[in-house]
Structures are given as structure tokens and as C-alpha cells.
Amino acid sequence: MADLTTDFLGIKSPNPFWLASAPPTDKEYNVRRAFDAGWGGVVWKTLGAEGPPVVNVNGPRYGAIWGADRRLLGLNNIELITDRPLEVNLEEMTRVKKDYPDRALIASIMVPCDEASWKAILPRVAETGCDGIELNFGCPHGMSERGMGAAVGQVPEYIQMVTEWCKMYYDRPVIVKLTPNITDIRKPAEAARAGGADAVSLINTINSITHVDLDLMAPEPTIDGKGSHGGYCGPAVKPIALSMVSEIARNPATHGLPISGIGGITTWRDAAEFMVMGCGNVQVCTAAMTYGFKVVQEMISGLSQWMDEKGYTSTDQFIGKAVPNVTDWQYLNLNYVTKAKIDQDACISCGRCYAACEDTSHQAIAMKEGRVFEVIDEECVACNLCVNVCPVEDCITMVEMDKGAVDPRTGVEVGDYANWTQHPNNPMAVKAAE
């Protein structure tokens, strides 16, 4: 079995699977059970400043999107940071860290945006013996109305300022957790790096309203006839999170900055995808909230099987491996020509590819006698829609045309690599060297 040990900012954990700061990590009872179940690390539920803790709503705090069999696809919440006293959390953290020295324990923190508040809490957190801190600049509801969470995360200057304070008053790794509720994710990441952050983690939850109750005429979850936007997470947000991670990983200004990947990670494969996209480890919340702590066992066995099959003996051998292959659209090879091809033995004649291509694409699928569906190469632009709507896996595949062959659609020979920057239709084309 492959060695899953990871070293993230010098923090060792037996595997790259950490629980994200959220209800699963809210208290000693949970965290002990999570560690016993096999989780490599935990980011404790976000701590607030000394004094009376925040209060949560007493009505429903979650909304959800489901597939047909009630498979949870997306979760939305209006929960705040920990609603338990700081003192209690710190005591529990101290005890847990002592009993689980081989696991990562990170304190997530959110206090008002002034130096005194951070200066006050950091030494107390340090005393717990935890391995590092994560600055919660992400919570998109409630806390942001009070000038914290996403309200800080949306202003790069604030991120840099608070990060600097933390580096000044705390001597272990500082991770800055980013909010996705921003236009260009590179800016807050750059600010974190400028402030001296050791790593960024992303994403926190996305502003969302999952449903509107059509009788109450109010968003769900509905609290006494009203609702407010919540934060979206779970499988549905994975593509957004992955893209944001890739932007930071390949941005020259942040390239090499360690990343802890978060957002919709539900299986070992999701985790592997985040890691090859540049994440040193991953954090999980919704998958644990949906299936319980035991899911980590599948993540562990799946990742190690995949590593064994691929011949990787340690995680650092594949972390970031896909980053060089993320590029701008303008550099994609326009001479890479493929055609959809239908495997007639696998086809079940449902006609979905036909309806999709005929009605909404390029009229490149013919419906023939006896419900036989065939691609018309002269029309196929290789958009991949038919592949995506076909209910049979691998029934339609994209077949690459050989160099030198003539594309029956354009009548042009398949040539060498050439991209938009070199294309004659591009007014700003760079003339290719003769």
C-alpha cells in the first residue's frame, strides 16, 4: 500500500484528508471520533473572540439540492462560527492534540478586523499546541454583515494586513482561507502571499439560495417566513473550486504557494484531482456531513490503490502534476481535430445524441432506418455534447484525426500545432515564423 503521509508546511499527517472547519470539527467529541475513524487532520470549527459567543438561528440552517434518489448534490447553510465559548474550545483542543500527536490540528480563527483582537487571541491559540492556524476570510453570511469573514476576504488589502498581524504574533504556519465570492481569486491569494501567508486554503462556501418555497414565497431554509442567502458546498461546487485552485497554482505571482484544496471533495478521485491541480492536501466537510466519518476509509483505500497502480510511492510525486497543462484558451491547438464516433454495439438507440445535436448543435447526427444513429463527419465540429448527453458510458468517443488527413467538414488538412495567436482570423495574430 502506498504511503499517504503528507507534509504540509512542515505539518505531518498520516494522510492528506483533513476535515474542514465546520460542524464535524465543532468539539472534542467529534474530533476524537474523526481521528479514530482515520482522518489525517482537522481544522477546528472557527473560533471567535473572547466573550459571549455568537448565536445561531433556532430554525432550520440547511438547504439542499438532490438527485432523484435523494442523493445530496449540494448543501447550503446559514450557520455561523462556533457558538461555544472560546475557553471551552481551547481546552478541548489542548487535550485532543496531546492525545493525537500524529494528527494535524489547525485552529480556524475569525475575530474583528483590528490588530488588538488578533493580538489577543493568537497567544492563547498557540498555547493549545495546535499545529497552525487558518484565517477564516470566507464565511459569506452573518459574520460578513459584522465586517468579518467574506467581508475581509473580499478586500485584498485587509487580507494582507490581517495576515501580517498573524505572522507577527504567531510563530507557526498561517493558512489563509479564501472566499470564492469574488471575481478574480488570484487577487486575494496574492494579498495573502504578500502578507506572508504560508498557504492558502479554498474554497469556502458560495453565496446561494437553494430553493424558494412557492407557498411562503420565501427562500429556504425559511425562518419564520424569511430566508437569507447561505453558503453552498458539496459535490456541486467542486468544478468551481477546482478552477479557482488551478488559477492560483498557475498564476506566476502565487505559483508554488502551498494550497489546501476544499470544495465538494467526496471521493478519493476528487481528492486526487485537487492534489494534481496543486493542492498539498485536501479538506472535506459535506461528504462527512452526508455519510459520516467513515467515508475517509474509501478515500484512503482509493487513493492508495490509484497510487499503487500508477507507481507513485509518495504524494509529493503527483502533487501539482496537472498544473502545467492548464493554459489559456488562446494557446489551445486549433489543429487538433477530432470527430465523434458512435459505437454501434454499445448504442441503445435512445436518440438523445440526435435530439441534442439536431436541435442545439450542428445537425451532425443522422437518424437512419431502424433507429440507427451515425455521425456525419462533414458536419461534426467535435463539440462533445453528444458524448455528454449519451446515457451509455464510452458509447460515443472522440477520435483524433491523423496529421495530414483532410477534415471533411472544412476541407483542410490537419496540420501542426497552431493556436489563435497565430490564426489569420485574429487581427492581433503573431505571424508564425516561416
Binding site: A68, D69, I348, C350, G351, R352
Partner: protein
Amino acid sequence: MTPSPRTDGIAAGRLDEAHLDRNFSDLHPPYEPHEAHVAADRCYFCHDAPCMEACPTSIDIPLFIRQIATGTPEAAAKTIFEQNILGGMCARVCPTETLCEEVCVREVAEGKPVEIGRLQRYATDRMMARDVHPFTRAAPTGKRVAIVGAGPAGLACAHRLAMKGHDVVIHDAREKPGGLNEYGIASYKSTGGFAQAEVDWLLEIGGITIQTGSVLGRDVTLEGLKADHDAVFLGMGLAGVNALGLTGDDMAGSLDAVSFIADLRQADDLATLPVGRDVVVIGGGMTAVDAAVQSKLLGAQTVTIAYRRGQDRMAASVFEQELATAKGVHILTNVQPVALHGNGKLEAVEFEYTEDRDGRLAGTGETVRIPADQCFRAIGQTLEGAPEALEIAGGKIAVTGAGRTSVAGVWAGGDCALGGDDLTVTAVAEGRDAAEDIHAALMA
């Protein structure tokens, strides 16, 4: 001693009430809402869907399933009823395994079709439970149409005509309307008095009067109906049954399967219905299977279906055959009856083995005797009481186009008319199409 399956002869009450209740409950229990959503999600919403083509009434199956999936089963029901007003009964009795579900792409691909029939039941049950009738009548046309037979063909025809604004009178020989829905369909397919509830619901459209106990040829004549109405539709089914043509056919214990089933459907208490210990059913179609299975469910100890050709030639679908064997019925093939034995009261049926000689059935001379207290004939129904003026072809009323008979102003559809399978859904399609044709003719 209380009777049991072992009790010799013909006896009632072989099983206790709880047992009977269990045996005669829904063959396919209705879906719970969550099950329906999961089942609906399996549908691929096929382009030009093959299932739709296979449905004799051409229900827009992908559309109604999608309407269920999106939480609007009532809209789904409307989609169904627009094509098939007896969509509720069809959902229960259609041999879907040889119709829509047989060609469902998921049946072809995985051997597990989308369960169209059960989904159809889910949608139609929902609307009928709300007791709303989704259609209203067009402005009255002043035209009057007479219908003979309140079976699926007659009812579908009547409903469509009423919708178009015509006034309809249906004459039916029996005590209750519904035709074989009421008197023929197996009990476990149509439970809880559904057939009558459906007729009542259908009549909510208005403009339809049913005269039960009114027999064509006795109480009314075709000439009379024609004279008093603008058009006549005959949906009289097949009221006669074939005989074995053997001596002893009239012996006690020798019955026709259709009457046995009708008695069963009309029994208030199944525990009072007598059935043999050893039952033999002769035939190979749906009626044979229904008679055999229900005998078994009533508590008969041994039940044998005896069919003269090979199993692959049986008219009952493979699903029906498997249902029979699963219930403990023995299917014996390549045997033809040659004699009924007994002393005034049936004791055994003697069969001769057969073989296929160049496509022709021939006896081998070898025989076998099967003990039987009861023998049901299920060897086909015949047209009975058709007015003489009509041209008959192949034992049925000859029709062209949408059910036009040889006599102007007279249409026919369902089992009594030539063409199409003898199925509830086909009768509905033919009744509906004839109504459209009648409407076009009356309004021309």
C-alpha cells in the same frame, strides 16, 4: 372439517381469509412517491421514443414520465388521459412486457425497462384520487350516437364523442358496465373495485347515459338504433366461447374459463367460491393463465395448463407464463384433449401428445390421463349476436379505416372488430379513433 387444498372434489373456502386477501392483492403494488421519482429518473426522454410507438394508444410516455419526475403527476395523468381515457386500467392490465416496456431502450440495453406501467398507474391514481375530471365538453352539437357495449371500446368511444359535444347512449347486456374490465380481468390486476370507480370517473364528463341489461337483438335492434341516432358504434366484444367438441363437455366440473373468472370477479367473498382440488385448464392464452393462477390462489392443490403446441407458441407472454409457474401452476405442452372421464362428475382429462409435423399439429397416438375435479376451457371467445346486416370476416365484424363497417353510419371497434390484438388498450384505441371518425362524419 374445514376445507383445505387437500380436500377432495370441488370445495369452497380452501384457504382462510388472510391468505386469500394476500393472494388477491395487487400484483404490482402502487409506487410510493419516492419510488416513483426514482423510477421516473431512469427514463432517458428518448427522441421519437420507441415506447410511444409501441403503445397502441400512442401515449407520450417520455413526457408523462418527465412530468412525474418534476413533481407534477397530475399533469402526467392529463398527458396519459388525452390519448387513453382508460389509462388507469391499462396501467394495471396492459401486458407491458410485450408493448411499451418490451421496446424501452433500457430493456434492450440492460433487460430492465423503465417501469412504464407502474408509473402510469402512479400518475393516473393521483389524479383520480383527487376526483377531478380533466376534460370538459365542447358546445352541444345536437347529435346523438348509440353505442353497444360498455367495455373499453365502447367507453373510450363514448368519452371522446361526449367531449366533442355529442350525446351518447350506451346499451350493455350485463348488469354492470365495464365489459371485461369488470368481468374478465384477473382480480390481482384490478383490485378494490377499480373498474366501477373508473367508469364513474369517466362518466363525469357528462353527456353519456348507460342502459344496462339492454341486449342488442333482444331489447334493441341495429335498425332501431340507426333510426333514432346519427351514428352507431358496436363495441360488443366476444360474448361466445369455443367448445371442446368432446363427449362429456357438459359434465359437472367442466366449465368455460371466462364464466369462472366472471364469477370470481363478482364474488363478494372469495371464500364462498368453489374450486377443485385438481384443476386442468385447457388453452395457452391470457385467459388460460388467469384461470389457472386464480384457481391456485383460491387454494387448488394442483393446477395444470394443458396447451396443444410448444411453449414458444403460447399466446400468453413469457411474463404471464412465469407468473403462472411462480404461483405453482404446471404448464404441460404438446398435448390435446381427447376425452373427459368421470361418472356424471369429472374425474380426469385424457390428452394425446402432439408434435409438429411440417408446421402441422399431429397426434402421436400416445395418451396421458390427468386427474381433474375441474376443467376450464380457455380456447378462445367468439363473436355472438352481431347484427346480420354486417359483413363478417374471420369471425369478426369487418371494418375499414377507423372502424367503418359495411353498413353506412355504423362503426365497430374492440374485440368484436377485425384487426388489432384483443387487448384492453387496443380496444381503447379503436373506440377513440372511431369516435374521431364519427365526429368528422357528423360534422362534415
